[in-house]
């Protein structure tokens, strides 16, 4: 088994543990490369089936290609798709101009909380990776959130030998992170190996491409001529620029992501 085989086997094991452990389970699908790989892994884990709903938190500020790609894949894979938007906040004028962290909190964290409350999810599968940023690097694979979705990151219980946290008080939920140990390069090499369809925005046009996807206003493109999966892999092998360098909310202050994620952000 090579590195990708081992990562794939562990992710499948985690997805199956989640499916066995939680009565109400859902998978967050952001349309980006990571959660699209995760969707593929779920199809593998369950032999072509997707036995739980997929959730897209739509801020209404997403890049239009993302929404088109979402609807196309959902139809092809016959997904049980929940799309949720925090319309109350939008109708009250919420947007990045109110402050990036305030906007992320309202349109992503709060929206997610509404979905959890509405569907009573006990387990939520989320495609975060350790190498994305600091607070994610310290995550557990099964990571508990309280009723308000808060993360007590200073006192996480031990997690060892692929034995995960499956006991918790009613009302809390577990964030399941099947691709926590993958790197950005692993994701692209796996996309190549498996021939997984991803949204076009990642491929360079006129010397620019998206490396990480988010809302249109807060996500910048990088200078790149990588217009195929192979070229992206080659580019990543030689870059020393941070993957999330184009994501504006990370730079709001030194501990922005830690603060957002403590309150329930993905």
């Amino acid at each position: 088994m090579d590195r990708l085989d081992m990562l794939e086997a562990q992710s499948i094991y985690i997805l199956r543990e989640a499916y066995k452990s939680f009565g109400k389970l859902g998978m967050l699908w952001s349309i980006g490369k990571d959660s699209t790989v995760m969707l593929w892994l779920a199809k593998k884990a369950f032999f072509g089936h997707c036995p739980f709903p997929f959730i897209h938190i739509d801020t209404t500020y997403k890049i239009p290609e993302m929404i088109r790609f979402r609807d196309k894949i959902a139809k092809e894979y016959n997904l049980d798709l929940i799309v949720y938007t925090n319309w109350d906040a939008i109708n009250n004028g919420m947007g990045p101009e109110k402050g990036r962290l305030v906007c992320c909190k309202a349109l992503k964290t709060d929206a997610l909380q509404h979905v959890i409350d509405k569907y009573k999810f006990e387990g939520l599968i989320v495609g975060v990776r350790r190498d994305e940023e600091g607070s994610r690097s310290k995550e557990r694979i099964f990571s508990e959130r309280n009723k308000e979705s808060e993360w007590n990151y200073t006192n996480q219980p031990p997690e060892l030998w692929d034995q995960f946290k499956t006991d918790f008080p009613k009302g809390n939920h577990i964030r399941v992170h099947p691709i926590l140990n993958w790197t950005e390069l692993d994701i692209w090499e796996y996309i190549k190996r498996e021939n997984i369809p991803v949204v076009d925005l990642y491929f360079a046009k006129n010397g620019k491409r998206y490396r990480s996807l988010g809302c249109a206003q807060c996500t910048g493109q990088i200078d790149s001529n990588a217009s195929t999966v192979d070229e992206i892999i080659e580019e990543l092998k030689h870059t020393n620029i941070n993957e999330r360098a184009g994501r504006a909310q990370d730079k709001e202050d030194a501990y922005a992501m830690q603060k957002l994620r403590k309150d329930g952000y993905m």
């Binding site: 072509g48 200073t154 031990p158």
Partner: protein
């Protein structure tokens, strides 16, 4: 074409402030594995907080960690050499965060143990060494760090090496190398140090590439613990990860503990390219069998020709306890061993070991946070397992206390428990439970008879005649009608153990071996008592109700577990 890339997971452990994070930061820096943003971020934070730049900050992501200068949680981070990829796990050195250290170290295949040359071997250096031994990590290098603080002295290096080597050997850890380094100045990390010409060995980076990955897990007997059974379509697929060995289509298999036999019909797949007739250790697979009897999560699929797993409900184990509450006997815990889950109790605590001094306490009644203990565990249901030395994955388990994983353990073997305490004289033994306690357990709301210790009492030994829930007079006799033995207790001591035929009633109260007062007031009563027992062998309830007063010397006490 993608090249085959091997990954080795290494953990960096050691006492707080001995420089683990600095070693990692330096390795990343020297191998140019740091993204641009990372260095900028650390520089920005250093500026904001007015502290000098530290490599350690690269790993300490949380505000608290950077402020306090200690790693709270583990971080996994990668770097590459020409030979392969590395995942380095940074484990906190502070004793308060031992559970995080263990969470990180449990995933590692090799370890770097960092010791401050100036401070020498400290408490956590030893404790972490011991935990590596418990986790079965045999590939260990010791880095003697901060050599700059002791003028790169060979003598001091040899002192630290000798100290640590003595300790590690005593716990069966045999480091393959001791490397003198200064992580902050980059000496002997990626580049050979010119300041230590006396050191002829490898740099850390070169030494890492020498570690060989374990490959023997495929050669072990097949262990496929069932994770789940799917019936999404007309196939009934058994899903699970192969923990050891190999499996082929057509193999004859046996499922434990039920020992039902069948044959592998197919290995299932979604993508055509994943079609296979043979699967091996490490893979998450789905199979179908020719016989569709009832199989469930937790059961082990093994090959008929492979060695069978152990099956039992009582086993000896070494555990390390990370729970906030102490580990005690009588309390119900959940045990998880691969995909098996069952209720368990600690049947006995044989000894508690201080992991940093190796001092062992044979009389301990409970295990505190961060202690290591040898225990006997009794599970409610029979489970399948292997001894840890034969198979790491199926020989280890975790214990859940309440909602949290609170302990990890490795199995040393099946155990046949001594059911009771004993009176012993020569080769005569009288099993007794008369010193067991009767507790009303909260929150279970049940009365439970509990052996507080398991002991043999010899002639002349002082007996525990007053317990929490029972009291005996200084002088009494214990009669065991089944084994036809009697014990004489005088002044609270065991004075003799004799055949029942030689026993004469002497006016002292008579108790059964389980501590019930017999309604015997004279020798005639005693003869009737004995004869009644012989005649009533098949109706012991009537006999017991007639002859014993179960509450005469007892009370029930509430106990929280």
């Amino acid at each position: 074409m993608l090249k085959f890339r091997e990954t080795l997971k290494i953990v960096v452990v050691g006492h707080v402030d001995h420089g683990k994070s600095t070693v990692i930061g330096r390795l990343l820096y020297d191998t140019k594995s740091l993204p641009e943003g990372a260095i900028e971020k650390v520089k920005r934070i250093s500026k904001e907080t007015g502290k000098p730049f530290e490599y350690a900050y690269l790993l300490d992501a949380f505000e608290e960690e950077q402020k306090q200068g200690i790693t709270i949680d583990t971080t996994q981070i990668q770097f590459h050499t020409k030979k392969r990829d590395y995942v380095i796990i940074d484990a906190p050195g502070h004793v308060e965060f031992l559970k995080n250290m263990i969470s990180g170290a449990a995933n590692a295949e090799a370890a770097l143990l960092v010791i401050d040359a100036n401070e020498g071997v400290r408490e956590q250096s030893k404790r972490h060494g011991y935990i590596l031994s418990l986790l079965g990590i045999k590939k260990v290098y010791v880095l003697v760090n901060k050599m700059d603080l002791i003028d790169y002295s060979e003598e001091k290096f040899l002192d630290v090496k000798s100290d640590m080597d003595t300790f590690l050997k005593s716990i069966n850890v045999f480091p393959q190398k001791y490397i003198p380094v200064s992580a902050f100045h980059g000496e002997n990390i990626a580049l050979r140090s010119e300041k230590m010409p006396w050191y002829k060995g490898d740099t850390v980076l070169d030494a890492l590439d020498i570690f060989e990955k374990d490959k023997d897990i495929i050669d072990k007997p097949l262990r496929l613990p069932i994770q789940d059974v799917y019936k999404f379509d007309n196939r009934r697929i058994i899903a699970g990860r192969i923990e050891s060995g190999v499996l082929n289509v057509g193999d004859e298999i046996v499922i434990y503990p039920s020992k039902r036999a069948s044959k592998v019909k197919s290995i299932e797949y979604w993508q055509e390219k994943d079609k296979a007739t043979k699967v091996e250790a490490g893979m998450s697979v789905g199979i179908t069998l020719f016989d569709e009897f009832f199989y469930k999560r937790g059961e082990f699929i093994t090959r008929k020709d492979d060695e069978a797993p152990l099956v039992g409900d009582t086993f000896k184990a070494n555990i390390f306890w990370m729970g906030e509450k102490r580990l005690t006997i009588n309390k119900r815990y959940k045990l998880k061993l691969v995909t098996q889950e069952t209720e368990c109790e600690i049947a006995s605590i044989n000894k508690v070991i201080d992991a940093s001094t190796l001092f062992s306490n044979d009389d301990a009644k409970e295990v505190n946070t961060n202690e290591v203990a040898e225990v006997v565990i009794k599970t409610k249901d029979k489970i399948c397992f292997d001894e840890f030395r034969n198979n790491h994955v199926t020989g280890r388990f975790v214990i859940v206390d309440g909602y949290d994983i609170s302990g990890g353990g490795i199995i040393n073997g099946l155990e046949i428990l001594d059911v009771a305490n004993k009176f012993v004289k020569g080769n005569i033994e009288l099993p007794i439970t008369c010193f067991d306690e009767y507790y009303y357990l909260i929150p279970y709301n049940e009365i439970k008879k509990v052996a507080v210790e398991r002991k043999s009492y010899k002639i002349g030994d002082k007996l525990p005649i007053n317990g929490d829930t029972y009291y005996y007079p200084d002088n009494f006799d214990v009669i065991d009608l089944n084994n036809e033995l009697s014990a004489l207790i005088r002044d609270g001591k065991l004075v003799d153990l004799i055949n029942l035929n030689d026993y004469k009633y002497e006016g002292y109260p008579v108790y059964s071996s389980d501590g019930f007062l017999a309604r015997v007031k004279n020798q005639d009563d005693f003869i009737n008592f004995k004869n009644d027992f012989k005649e009533s062998k098949y109706d012991l309830v009537d006999f017991a109700n007639k002859w014993y007063d179960p509450l005469a010397n007892k009370r029930i006490v509430y106990k929280a577990v």
